[in-house]
Amino acid sequence: MKPNDYLPHEVQIVARVQEAPDIFTLRLRFTDLAHHARYHFDAGQFNMLYLHGVGEVAISIASDPKDTHLIDHTVRVVGRVTKALAQLQTGDYLGLRGPFGRGWPMAAAQGRDVLLITGGLGCAPVVSVVHYVLRRRAHYARLVIMQGVKHTHDLIWRRQYDTWAAAPNTQVLLTADQTGQGWPFNTGLVTQLIGQAQFDPANAVAMLCGPEGMMRATAQALQERGLPDHDIWLSMERNMHCAVGHCGHCQFGSSFICKDGPVYPLPEISHLLGVKGF
């Protein structure tokens, strides 16, 4: 039997966690336990989740690659499929195929400072890296977590940030564009925090996730701090249908984001980053 990367496998929702009013996490397990045992992924890769009769959607994997128990997907309600996914409950069944794409450079980052910089909502792909680094704390030098959100209520996992800030050799910097009372963190864009980040530009890897304008501005601020382009990694997002580099929707110049990305070192995409229409 030839492999068919287009065919989903059945998974069951083992747990469902409401993270914020429009953000939830689905914890999944393949009903075919042998398939579950064979399933491996890298941090930063994604799966195609299929909802019966509705269709597929690309969702990054939020759990730890070494956690063989469950596969977590943190989802924000933005479109047709995610809206329908939000209605599901524990015990319901979905289709899943994956993992796809290139993940974060976790091996290359070993022994170096790790900067995780996110903008916008949630940014599950990077939260999975936070967990990854904290569980292997000795393998990495400093950990700097920077997150910018639009509104203060967009910050999910708020309690976790306190835990992370207390971890050894870890710095947490949070900011919101629009702040209200009781917001103990910064006000403004995440790029404005780069000056406060403590890292060694000669021995650091930055991982960026968020709107492209935010990532471009962040990359520039990091360049100004002396971080080389090849140590700046970005998670890109485009329309995805097939996830195997065949259907053409996610093309970014000469790259298929689903197959060659979604995570890229800056030099591979800088020529088109921010160019309208690509």
């Binding site: 030839k2 492999p3 068919n4 990367d5 287009y6 065919l7 989903p8 496998h9 059945e10 009903t31 299929y50 019966h52 009769g53 509705v54 269709g55 597929e56 933005v78 479109g79 015990g91 319901d92 069944y93 979905l94 289709g95 997002e237 485009r238 329309n239 249908h241 097939c242 195997v244 580099g245 065949h246 259907c247 053409g248 929707h249 093309q251 110049g253 000469s254 298929f256 197959k259 020529h271 088109l272 160019v275 309208k276 229409g277 690509f278």
Partner: protein
């Protein structure tokens, strides 16, 4: 080209193919154009017909010549025979407890011999093979269709005004693998085989050794097709000219109909479509050809990366002529000229590139 098959003996090829279990597909005239369809008899072949192509113009004219293949091409390449315009990928059945049973619906195509494949279309097929079969992920649907094909190429003897395969290096003579290769002269065909399947078929035909004179005539006729009016630069640096004002000029003319991507033999974009049955439990997951000229092509949670004809055209052309070099080691254009003829606005890829670089 060592063998000769007389024109009156051509039906032997059809019957040899049929006996070997192949369904035959060949060129014929439908709705005023050359199309590929089931071929049962040589009388269906477009004897004496020639195409006249210009930007936004395609007409056939009958001549009294004896030739069956003295035309350049029609709207459709052989792409639909490997990359189906519409293909069911899988079905899923939901039971009463909500469990999902997925079932792949791989095609089981009949062995098919395509007669009259052109050099540009074989070059395009090689590119589609690279895309669907030789990358990180193998497409089993394409693969099943591809493996069912036997390819009988015919060297071109007539170039339309829209042809430019000489400048892309893909024709007019066939340069990619084939099973059988034909060159047409008045009395019949010079024939050579390029595979075991082709050789097995050739062995059943009443062939004679091709004379020097016949080979010379075939060469001369092919030479005529090398006289082409259009030219495409080898590697136009389009990504270095993304702000060129001519993109706007083309965008203002472009109707965003997607004809160019439909007739292009190398375009591979497709979309996934979910079709739930009325019973609510069965659902089909289908793919259909898509086009980067469609607004939904670049849709991403609530907005579109590209939303106007200028952006569509720039995406298409930069990909086809520049992006492909990095993805596939060569241009995505094989010089067939279909996008020029079938563009209702007469947008001419070769002329636009000239303006853009």
């Amino acid at each position: 080209m060592n063998h000769f098959l007389a024109r009156e003996d051509f039906p032997h090829l059809l019957s040899a193919l049929t006996q070997a279990g192949y369904g035959c597909v060949g060129p014929q005239i439908r709705q005023g154009a050359i199309v590929f369809d089931h071929l049962h008899s040589v009388t269906q072949l477009p004897q004496g017909w020639q195409d006249e192509q210009q930007p936004a113009h395609y007409r056939l004219q009958q001549t009294d010549s004896p030739y069956w293949f003295n035309w350049s091409n029609g709207a459709s390449a052989i792409k639909p025979y490997t990359f189906a315009p519409q293909e069911n990928l899988w079905t899923v059945q939901r039971d009463q407890s909500g469990r999902l049973r997925f079932q792949a619906t791989l095609p089981q195509p009949q062995k098919t011999a395509i007669i009259g494949v052109r050099a540009c279309d074989l070059a395009a097929l090689a590119l589609q093979d690279q895309h669907f079969l030789h990358g990180k992920h193998v497409d089993p649907y394409y693969q099943a269709r591809r493996e069912s094909l036997l390819l009988i190429g015919v060297n071109c003897t007539h170039a339309a005004a829209t042809c430019f395969c000489v400048s892309t290096g893909d024709g007019p003579d066939i340069r990619q693998p084939y099973d059988l290769l034909l060159s047409e002269i008045a009395a019949g065909f010079l024939l050579s085989s390029g595979s075991t399947a082709g050789a097995t078929l050739a062995a059943q035909l009443p062939l004679t050794p091709a004379s020097d004179a016949q080979q010379h005539t075939a060469q001369q006729r092919m030479q005529a097709a090398t006289q082409q009016q259009r030219h495409l630069p080898a590697k136009p640096p389009l990504f270095a000219h993304l702000d060129h004002p001519h993109w706007q000029t083309v965008g203002a003319r472009c109707l965003a109909c997607g004809n160019c991507t439909s007739v292009c033999p190398t375009c591979f974009c497709h979309q996934a479509v979910e079709i739930p049955d009325l019973d609510g439990d069965t659902s089909r997951h289908e793919r259909r050809w898509d086009s980067c000229f469609q607004p939904g092509h670049s849709y991403i949670h609530g907005w579109q990366i590209r939303s106007n004809a200028t952006d569509y055209y720039r995406q298409w052309l930069t990909h086809k002529l520049a992006g492909w070099h990095e993805q596939f080691g060569r241009s995505g254009c094989t010089g067939c000229g279909r996008c020029i003829s079938w563009c209702p606005a007469g947008i001419d890829l070769t002329a636009e590139v000239e303006q853009l670089v």
